[in-house]
Amino acid sequence: MVIEGLFYTEEHEWAKVNGNTATIGITHHAQEMLGEITFVELPAVGKEVEQKGELAVVESSKAASDVYSPVTGMVTKVNSDLESTPEQINQDCYNAGWICTMKITDVSTIDNLMDSKKYEEYLKGL
């Protein structure tokens, strides 16, 4: 399941870009591969991350996986609901399962992301 209008990474993160703000989460494919998500280690608000830098950790019964930042920016808000109900990522990864919002400090990093069409093709090739 891929949503139009979002940007995607090869590591299966999505970013919803609005001006210089991005909301970030992991894709349907990612949550499906991870299985039941049991814990999310959220980043600290104010954390500055480069594109592809480590942003958060999503832990399932199978593995603990890094979530890499789709853009270069600073964390402005985190979804603290995930602390008590991490399964929201499984249930609704593109809405209630968002992980954090970021202020994009290097807008050009968006150009490195895939749109929904490209990501869909990328998934087919896996």
């Binding site: 049991t38 814990f39 280690e41 832990e59 019964s61 593995a63 603990a64």
Partner: protein, 443 residues
């Protein structure tokens, strides 16, 4: 494991199968490191080997009356401990692969964890680590993960062997280690508070400390928490039968050497590192943790939990490169604690303290023998200043049948005449009297 034969014929078959030679298989080893000669003596018969080994073993002094402590202690071990742990169902050094198949082993580890939590008054314990030294290192790394900081303050009355281990583990990491010299056998508050700042991840303390002195670190815990840092306390589990627990002092991570809980003193191991912490830090805790749950039919069952952070899944990002536990030693500690019970442990600790106090008075009555520290609060170990070099006196006392203590000059400056003496519940009034007599003649 069953025997797998490996005859010349089979080797030839295998090599033919992979199309290689023995030399090819070792070709990665540089030629200068290869040798045909190992300078080994000629072979001996089995009887000759036994004789030679017995001769070497006889060089050990095995029947000394032990007043030696310093991190490892000569406590009584009930025979029932061995009977239980040597049952074949339990007899494994590690957590088994496919652990959930071994419900009994997991239940034992779960009960061990519960015992460690109650003993230290903490909320969660892991399935054990290698020994007291690695446990303290792991606690330090855990504090760095929790706080995201990299300065650590270590009191120098923490067991010097542990401090050497911390040093060697962290030599190539960018961790700022600050050592604080203790004052009159107690943690030096003024120096610790001076060094404590917003970059500090942890303060590492020990109770009773290496000199046997006891302390209450509650005030340090308050100061440490105000700076957002963690307090790590290493402790001697037997002492917790009567002493204020690290949990009650406000420690965030408690570690220690578990040898005193039913394991003999035996040339460095195998020993047991234990670790407990606050529930809020459980995901930063190294090693494995056994949890209790219900299976799909609602039956009680035990599982390895939070495994996702271990090395076999998370590789270089694992919480620790210790990926197993000291299962058999943890079981030993658990069986020992179960046999002793709450009352037994309290009594043992009280006996140690009372007998040590008796020995302290007896020995300090010897002319020229003085207590090293003004403060008289100790558990079952204390430091005495002798009128001459302690190491020489200890050597002379070995000839008289005593392991009289530990020469502190081995690890501390300006302590040439200082001896660390330990008294456990096993020592009798008579033995203490005999040590006092022998010591007087050896000065």
């Amino acid at each position: 494991m069953s025997f797998i034969s490996n005859t010349k014929e089979q080797q030839k078959d295998m090599l033919a199968d992979i199309g290689s030679t023995i030399d090819d298989l070792f070709s990665d080893i540089p030629a200068e490191l290869m040798t045909d000669e190992f300078n080994l003596p000629k072979g001996l018969t089995e009887q000759q080997v036994r004789g030679a080994l017995a001769e070497i073993a006889d060089k050990n002094y095995i029947n000394l009356t032990c007043f030696l402590g310093g991190g490892f202690y000569d406590h009584f071990i009930p025979a029932a401990v061995y009977s239980v742990i040597s049952r074949s169902e339990f007899y494994t050094a590690y957590t088994p692969y496919q652990p959930e198949l071994s419900q009994g082993t997991l239940q034992a580890i779960y009960e061990y964890q519960s015992a460690i939590c109650r003993l230290t008054e903490m909320e969660v314990a892991n399935a054990s680590l290698y020994d007291g030294g690695t446990a303290i290192y792991e606690a330090m790394m855990m504090a760095l993960r929790v706080t995201g900081r990299n300065k650590v303050i270590v009191d120098d009355s923490v067991n010097p062997i542990y401090r050497v281990m911390i040093d060697s583990y962290t030599k190539n990491l960018s961790i700022q280690l600050e050592q604080v010299e203790c004052t009159d056998g107690q943690a030096n508050r003024r120096e610790i508070f001076k060094k404590l700042d917003n970059d500090t991840a942890a303060v590492i303390l020990q109770n009773p400390n290496f000199f046997g002195c006891i302390d209450d670190f509650s005030d340090i815990a308050d100061a440490v928490h105000k700076k957002g840092a963690l307090m790590i306390v290493s402790c001697y589990p037997i002492s917790l039968g009567i002493l204020k627990t690290p949990g009650a002092m406000g420690a965030d991570i408690v570690v220690g050497e578990g040898q005193s809980l039913g394991m003999p003193m035996s040339f460095g191991g195998p020993y047991l590192g234990f670790m407990s912490s606050r529930m809020k830090y459980v995901r930063k805790m190294p090693g494995r943790i056994v949890g209790k749950t219900n299976d799909r039919l609602g039956r009680r069952s035990f599982v390895l939990t939070l495994q996702a952070r271990e090395q076999h899944i998370r590789r270089d990002k694992a919480t620790s490169n210790i990926c197993s536990n000291e299962a058999l030693c943890a079981l030993t500690a658990h069986v020992y604690l179960s046999l002793m019970g709450k009352e037994g442990l309290r009594e043992t600790a009280q006996l140690c303290a009372d007998k040590a106090s008796y020995a302290y008075h007896k020995l300090t009555a010897i002319p020229g023998v003085k207590p090293r520290f003004k403060a008289k609060w100790f558990f079952n170990e204390f430091v005495l200043d002798l009128p001459c070099e302690a190491a020489d006196v200890i050597a002379r006392l070995i000839e008289k049948g005593f392991a009289a203590g530990f020469p502190l000059s081995r690890y501390y400056e300006n302590m040439e005449n200082a001896i660390l003496i330990c008294v456990t519940e096993k020592r009798t009034k008579q033995q203490i009297g005999m040590l006092a007599e022998a010591l007087e003649t050896c000065l």
